[in-house]
Symmetry: C2
Subunit: 257 residues, 2 copies
């Protein structure tokens, strides 16, 4: 075996959660990896595919940035000086809300080869779980993905504008601010009766809940343990109607008992 150091760093999408939603390429890379740096949320069975590798958790939750990111960048550069195959395993896809660019730039600046392996992003897994397509003939032909930062707007981040102008909208990392998000979208002119689908831990067990912007603004969400998406638009109207019919039926039955 040749030993050409520095090695290559692979930024690999672990997918939404379910271990078998990993790609074949990612599985093969994990099997041959010398060292794996993984996010906190990656499934243990996925990490376990890296039988040869030293495993390092670099758990970093949304909101804590800078110092943690610089430290991860440095560890990746250092690891490539010692190992042929370094895997940086990220939940979902690295290039969509995965903060990959900072790691790519740091590695290229240090002269380290980088390859990115895409992963299934949560919105696609959630749509598969629900059996409801993000796009639909005559109803939706545009989809916006955004991360809101309510009350902490900064350039170029008018997250609400992108959702106002797309047929279907998906908000990542948004569940803990759901009341404020719903209030802001209604204030911007989104109809209060817009259907909202909440999907916690897409591809795994978690809350699947359909509601409206109005109800979300009023009631918010229960405390969730997994990462959650807020998905909104007319593609969820049928699911909302069915849930409302069921609620009405349950209420009618209750009155009769």
């Amino acid at each position: 075996m040749t030993n050409n150091l520095p090695g290559t760093v692979y930024l690999v999408g672990a997918g939404p959660g379910a271990p078998d939603l990993l790609t074949l390429r990612a599985a093969r890379l994990l099997e041959s990896a010398d060292i794996v740096f993984h996010d906190a949320l990656v499934h243990p069975d996925t990490i376990a595919l890296a039988t040869r590798a030293e495993k390092v958790a670099v758990g970093k939750r949304y909101g804590k940035h800078s110092a943690a990111q610089l430290f991860i960048n440095k560890r990746l550069v250092d690891a490539a000086q010692k190992h042929q195959t370094v895997v940086r395993l990220k939940g979902g896809d690295p290039m969509l809300f995965g903060r990959a660019q900072e790691e790519i730039d740091a590695l290229l600046e240090a002269g380290i080869a980088v390859e990115v392996v895409p992963g299934i992003t949560a919105a696609l897994a959630a749509s598969a779980d629900l059996g409801i397509s993000l796009t639909r003939r005559g109803i939706s032909r545009s989809v916006a993905f955004a991360t809101p930062r309510v009350g902490r707007e900064e350039q170029p981040s008018d997250w609400a504008a992108s959702l106002m102008n797309a047929d279907t909208g998906v908000l990542y990392m948004a569940a803990h601010e759901s009341k404020e998000i719903a209030a802001q979208l209604i204030a911007r002119g989104k109809p209060a009766q817009t259907p909202v689908m909440v999907v916690e831990s897409a591809s795994l067990d978690g809350l699947r809940h359909v509601t409206t912007l109005e109800a979300l603004k009023r009631d918010g969400l229960p405390q969730l343990t997994g990462p959650a998406l807020l998905m909104l638009g007319e593609v969820y109207r049928e699911a909302l109607n069915a849930a409302q019919d069921q609620q009405a039926l349950a209420a009618a039955l209750k009155r009769r008992c």
Copy 2:
């Protein structure tokens, strides 16, 4: 083996093109499939994983609809009467521009169980190819995906609005109308110097070309053989600058020779 018919139809995303960007779940389903209905664009090596299955091409290109779709729906329903495991294999992800909903609805109406297996969508594979993230701290925190139909606008399809209001925009199935798309985005107020990245056959060999909306409006694109994405936004500015520097250098060298 129990033989409980009707069987289940799995709507499976084949991913962007490279056979090893299939998910583990999709590979396992193909291996056990009795019959596979696949799009024209799915890679032959992916279809070949279905060693046991009868393979049926149901190639359908963008633009030809209705009759072809009704025929596919009927064939899926019929197949589930005869087979335990029916796979409908679609390029990319079924739930994002994959026309999955019509097939799901037809199957559920016929009392057939349906499961959806997500796939890597082209925009994520293209971002991996380029090493440029769709989102980036301080530059992009919203991404819109749309399919344009220039001059054939229909409700609710203001595709341009979703792109005007997202930091990064990705247009699927857009390359053959690139001049008109660029003209329309500029007319709507998108800066003419907005960087545009063209990616043909993401995850496989194809054109990778960075330009501006202005140049795209003027020159269009060469004839492409594979499916192509138009990706636009400030995340591609560095790549555009580097390409323009290289062009300027080449021109200067040419003048000196």
